[in-house]
Symmetry: C2
DNA sequence: CTGTATCCCATACGATACTG
DNA sequence: CAGTATCGTATGGGATACAG
């Protein structure tokens, strides 16, 4: 995770970068963040649309996760000064790159559902 | 996530597959599972080696997460009947495929640390 | 519509101790 | 060494209500 770091970096700077990496990874390596990123890959969406598109996410977790992703420069938030308010969410360039890897994870899941289902049955039998 | 499902499937079967997908995704879409999968991609490791290699993981979470990944057919667990016991963990074929996508996530994180750091500073300024 | 705030419960997690 | 069990705390996360 923290390998291949530039040799020209000060030890203190290296340490800070490692801490940042861990923090960033923690922010994106969770169910809601990954599902939101994957869904937003399909295009710009409003808050309510996202809430409906991301299976099982609550109002609260969507807002909370979107703030984190916005702060980390993964998600763009465009507010239209209208009444009622309209907010468009989309992926940044960095977010789009991340999304390709996230989507690969989703594809992997779909492709291995059956395989995993059988692995589980074998495991559960073994454990009596 | 649950698109592109075979047309030849019964409605009940489709529903079960969707539920399984969501469950599997929840199992792998968390910090420890992803870090463990990524680390195991470097090769077979023993429990204690893994515990040291995965930055910040506790004894308990490692054991717990390994069980889940083993059950889902992502991780192989090979017990040597010796004293003291020796257990080798490695990725299954399915796990290896998954690992390439997980590793891409890790690479993305490393490559965007600086970019994200700046995005955060801009965000925090804006929020006063 | 797009949030934020509060309450409250369930689970995640670390620390520690114990077993084969 | 490689776990499992227990305990206490912290965080995740749903439901609801409220505000701009």
């Amino acid at each position: 995770m923290t390998k291949q770091m530039s040799d020209s970096m000060e030890p203190a700077e290296v340490k800070r970068t490692e801490a940042l990496s861990a923090e960033i990874f923690t922010n994106i390596a969770n169910k809601w963040a990954l599902l939101i990123i994957n869904t937003l890959g399909e295009g710009t969406m409003r808050f309510t649309e996202l809430c409906a598109a991301v299976e099982g996410v609550s109002h609260k977790m969507l807002a909370q996760t979107l703030r984190i992703l916005e702060r980390d420069g993964v998600v763009n938030r465009l507010v239209h000064p209208t009444v009622p308010p309209r907010v468009d969410y989309s992926l940044t360039d960095a977010g789009l790159m991340l999304r390709t890897t996230v989507n690969a994870m989703c594809v992997w899941t779909r492709q291995h559902v059956h395989h995993i289902d059988q692995a589980r049955q074998r495991f559960d039998e073994r454990q009596v």
